[in-house]
Amino acid sequence: MKSYLALFIFIGSTFLTISVKAYPHFIGYGYSSCITCHYSGSGGGALNDYGRALFTNEIAARDIYDDKISDEELSARSGFLGATPLPWWLRPGFKYRGLWMRNNPGSAKNQVDRYINMQTDLNLNFFFDKKQKVTLVTTTSYADRYPPYPDIQKWSTYSKEYYLRWKMTNTYWLYVGQMDKTFGIRDADHTAVHRSPLRLGQFDQSLGAIFHITYPEWDVALNYFVGNAKEPKTDKQQGLAMTGEYQLVEKLKIGASFLSSSSESTAWNIFSMHTRIGLDKGSSFLAEAGLKQKKNKTITTTDKTPLGSYVWLSSMVNLRRGYNVLSNIEFSRDDMNKTSDENYRWSLGTIFFPMPRTEVRLMAVNGKTFSEGGASEDSWQLQSQFHVSY
């Protein structure tokens, strides 16, 4: 029976395809700090050895394995080459995320299917000492047909992320190079209302430095950034970001973030508050609410820059090891002081980790817009994501 199940899952993961990473939702397992599983203290990017092992022996299902194989043995196989040890100074990684989506399902006129290679990354992480006090983290990405910046050719590779991490003490960390900006809850859904619309998406890494102070109950990260090396000079956002979290009680964190930046054409000011709550083993509730102000500097006007708002609510319910229900509810509005469209999106579905190194998502997405200018029909989208991580 198990061999059939293993075959089914293998075929599913091979031909369907999604990616595996540690998520902020895993506070439901008691893991509330990003640095536990990632090289980056702000989360995102490559997993460290502990993160790989934890994903294998606690998050992912183990139905394909015989009961005689212990979780510890599975953890030992979670390296890039399985159980084969690598030199202490090198940790490679590979991540692929693919998305199939159907817009307007059931509509004879407007139904459109698309497949997008969202992420094809090769991580090469180098340690300068055995205690990993100084680490060089690099990510080379494949641009596919939708390169994020004009300087990047289609179907080519480019350096997406590269930074030095200096662990000064167990409390103080310094990161210098091109990396994700530190702000709010870093969820994997880069199209969510608190990510790419705020230029905090998967291609918005920025050159700069992050100073991170971490204590068991609270942490603060301060980020100075000057823009992505690949983006046009006029678009480079330079500024400051800061985010902090405080643990009220076990599995309950509250936090706040601030970002102020400017390029030749656009200025951003964003403030947010968030909470992460672990409810039960593997289940969690996350929320982020913020104010956003985007100023177009190329237009001279006496009007006040509009102040917008957004809310992101995410619920993950663990049904059994490796199998979860995920619900994301989003709201955004570009101008709180005038009549402006209210945009709502609800994504509901499943997020499965059927075996180590894999993730499969099946989601239905319902969009609603409330506008004083007139009602509009709901939008619908079906999504299927497949992730593979090595």
């Binding site: 709550i277 409810l279 039960d280 289940s283 509730f285 609510l313 619920s315 319910v317 049904l319 229900v325 619900s327 509810i329 209210e342 709502y344 609800w346 509901l348 319902n366 609603k368 817009t369 409330f370 506008s371 004083e372 200018g373 007139g374 009602a375 509009s376 029909e377 709901d378």
Partner: protein, 197 residues
Amino acid sequence: MKTVGSYNHNFTFPISFLFFFLFSTSAFAQSKTYTYQSVGISHIQFQEDLNLEKNISLDKDYASLRGTVIQFQKQTSVQGLGFSMGAIAGLGRAVAAGSGGTLSYSGGAQWFLLGVTPKIYYRLTKPISFGVQGLAFYKSTKWADYNGITATSKHNFNFAVLGDLTMQLTDYIEFVQSAGSINGDATLWKIGLNYLF
């Protein structure tokens, strides 16, 4: 997580009898019945059909509605299965689409609703439950005439069936997200917080 409410051994709440007949095993009948109340506030949004009329011309349109509802609920559960009955009241804003073929109506209106909301649910774990919720309500919307066109909501009495996920965030606060079909032809969302006592 601390539980809220009081234990009731006497099957005083009527739904306990329903459970008794549905699950008349001795273990179920002897188990404790757990009851509590909640008051809550929710954001609600859905769409409805409009009937348009001008002289002898008739047409159809639709409208988007969103607003705020408050609700009171009494819940009873036995061995992870639960039932609740609640009363709901709310008000909000409606906007017409202006999508009529022969009659082009434009405008917005205020609405209010009163209704009841029964729910059955299964408690997956202590803080998390899945349920199916009914929503039956009377809604009044005062559409203003536009260019001589009279608009009326197709349904004053509305019925919705919603799937429901409830997460108890703290000892006294739960987050409830519900979505489903209203009048069989549109989606309805209801998202809110309940205070338990």
